[in-house]
């Protein structure tokens, strides 16, 4: 190679390296910038209301009174309801796919579960408005009220649109996340574990319970946290189904509001600075919560799927 081509080659090498390095750094910058941008825009509201923003129950843009508690309440109730439903089912799916299904069945079912995640949120919302909510109003909620009406959760007029509808649609939407991550960590459990259990005469269920689940436990927990993160921030389907009323009521049938929904509904109407920054502050809280949840969840999942426990790495 002549000296000249060597030189251009090394310049080319340097350029590509620097370019990729720049892009890699830009990802970090992007995340920091997003946080800062939101904090900066939320500052007027943070300074004016301080901590009372989170505990305030009144949301009145006309009087410039902003308390986010009803939204936090609606978000938490619907997300927890979704977790309660989606966790056992999602785990069941993960176990079925990883430990039971033949490879052809697994391929088809895994694809279908991924399709569940691929359906856009707004389509779930549409289906919720015209199929799920009427069904809840006419069949499910009257039934629940009849049999479990002594519990405050199931009292009140069946409206269809409310926290139950929001929670159910969220359950459908986070189920693939929980199933996929749990499946991923179960797949990372070394086969020797399973074989050892089977060799000792364990049934399949005993093998799963004794050899697979304990090993995958922290990763599964991570998957559940990722599901929760998705539920907390999910916007469209919830906005279309939760009823959009900033009340704090015990009944699951009652309309409520979520953090993401109030942002979606009111953001373009927020004409003055304080109103806008109050909405951004809700977004900032959401950002903060999902950031922390995701950090913990990733650490848990990494600890199983990529962790140092020899032989589990799939790289």
């Amino acid at each position: 190679m002549s000296k000249k081509t060597k030189l251009t080659a090394s310049i080319g090498d340097q350029t590509l390296r620097s370019l990729t390095l720049l892009m890699a750094i830009s990802v970090l910058v992007l995340m920091a910038w997003m946080g800062w941008q939101m904090y900066y825009s939320a500052l007027p509201s943070i300074q004016k209301f301080g901590f009372s923003f989170i505990t305030g129950r009144v949301w009145d843009p006309v009087k410039e009174q902003f308390g986010a508690l009803p939204f936090i309440y609606g978000t938490l109730v619907t997300s927890l309801l979704a977790l309660l439903i989606a966790t056992p089912i999602g785990l069941g799916v993960a176990i079925f796919l990883n430990e039971m299904a033949a490879s052809k069945v697994r391929m088809v079912v895994a694809f279908l579960v991924e399709m569940l995640a691929a359906i856009p949120s707004v389509v779930y919302g549409l289906w919720g408005i015209f199929v799920l909510a009427p069904w809840l109003r006419e069949t499910v909620e009257p039934g629940l009220a009849k049999w479990f009406g002594f519990i405050p959760l199931f009292q009140g007029t069946p409206a269809g649109f409310g926290m139950l509808a929001g929670g159910l649609i969220l359950a459908v939407m986070i189920l693939p996340t929980i199933a996929a991550i749990s499946g991923e960590v179960m797949a990372a459990v070394p086969n020797e574990q399973r074989e050892a259990a089977l060799a000792l005469g364990a049934t399949k269920w005993e093998m799963i319970r004794l050899a697979v689940l304990p090993y995958a436990k922290s990763g599964i927990l991570g998957g559940i946290m990722l599901g929760l993160g998705r539920a907390l921030g999910e916007t469209m389907a919830v906005t279309m189904l939760i009823g959009n009323r900033p009340d704090i009521l015990p009944s699951l049938f009652a309309p409520a509001y979520s953090m993401a929904a109030v942002i979606a509904n009111e953001f373009t109407e927020a004409t003055n600075t304080l109103y806008l920054s109050a909405l951004v502050e809700i977004g900032l809280i959401l950002f903060g919560i999902t950031l922390i949840l995701n950090c913990f969840a990733r650490i848990l999942v990494w600890s199983v799927a990529r962790g140092p426990k020899g032989g589990t790495s799939n790289e």
């Binding site: 890699a24 990802v27 941008q37 089912i89 694809f111 569940l116 691929a118 977004g283 995701n294």
Partner: protein, 278 residues
């Protein structure tokens, strides 16, 4: 515990897991069934080539929304795909284990979990407010931010699959690193990278929340990228929550188009990838 009891318990648990899997698929077929049923009856050629009709009138289409979605997804791809691929190259080819790479990988994973509406807020406060108007550019930019972590993740996985011996063979021949990456590694992993990009495109084309206050939506054609522009998901949302029956019909038809797009992209991506690994 006696053996028969253990066997029954095993059978019971296996049945529960199978039932759970079936239960998980009920909403999928429920949604698909209703979208196909209601969507088909409202779908016709007019839907693809006409503008929306005024409220309460039947007929009309979502041509502007379909084109709007394509435009913004294109903008997002132009920005997001190169950034994503270059970052992934850095993570696999230059620097697999430094603290910087670990941090970038971690940030990528965390970014994937940030609610998409947050991206909308950030672009609104930083771009829309500064420019003074909603625009296709702002919408495309927010979709790009959602796309970047997806592309990084999938590309990185694909680059990792390229066997180390191919790299070593390149070095042994004295080929420069740039050529090895551009001419050997990227082509080897190309199919997988394209698959990942298609899945990311499918994912962002259904996004609504980040477009609500960046692209805003538009009942007419946008004349430039600097104007508010219609998008299919946003249009579906507005129509679904409107009180008009005719618009509900259109929302179902729009959903059918959107879901078909997403599923076809997913299918192509997966089939292409399977033929590669076989």
């Amino acid at each position: 515990m006696n053996d028969r009891l253990r066997k029954y318990r095993n059978l019971a648990m296996m049945s529960i897991f199978t039932l759970a899997t079936l239960a998980a698929l009920v909403p999928l077929f429920g949604v698909l069934g209703y979208v196909v049923k209601n969507g088909f009856s409202a779908l016709n050629l007019e839907f693809f080539i006409h503008l929306p009709k005024a409220m309460g009138l039947s007929g009309g289409g979502m041509a502007n929304a379909i084109v709007g979605t394509l435009i913004m997804v294109l903008i997002a791809s132009i920005i997001g795909i190169p950034i994503g691929i270059l970052t992934a190259i850095y993570l696999t080819e230059y620097d697999r284990n430094s603290w910087l790479s670990v941090a970038v990988r971690f940030a990528t994973d965390v970014l994937t979990g940030i609610p998409s509406i947050i991206v909308g807020i950030v672009i609104y406060t930083s771009v829309v407010l500064k420019m003074g108007h909603f625009s296709a550019l702002a919408g495309g930019l927010s979709l790009a931010i959602i796309m970047i972590p997806l592309i990084i993740r999938s590309t990185e996985e694909m680059l990792k699959l390229v066997s180390q011996s191919i790299r070593e063979a390149g070095y042994a021949l004295g080929i420069s690193k740039r050529i090895i990456i551009l001419r050997i590694i990227l082509p080897t992993a190309a199919k997988g990278i394209i698959t990942g990009a298609m899945l990311a495109v499918a994912r962002v084309s259904g996004e609504t929340a980040p477009l609500l206050f960046t692209a805003l939506g538009n009942q007419y054609w946008a004349r430039s990228l600097n104007e508010p522009i219609a998008a299919l998901p946003v249009q579906i949302y507005q129509y679904a929550t409107s009180p008009y029956k005719e618009w509900h019909q259109q929302a179902w038809a729009g959903s059918l188009v959107l879901i078909s797009m997403v599923i076809i992209l997913n299918l192509i991506a997966r089939l292409a990838f399977r033929s590669r690994s076989n």
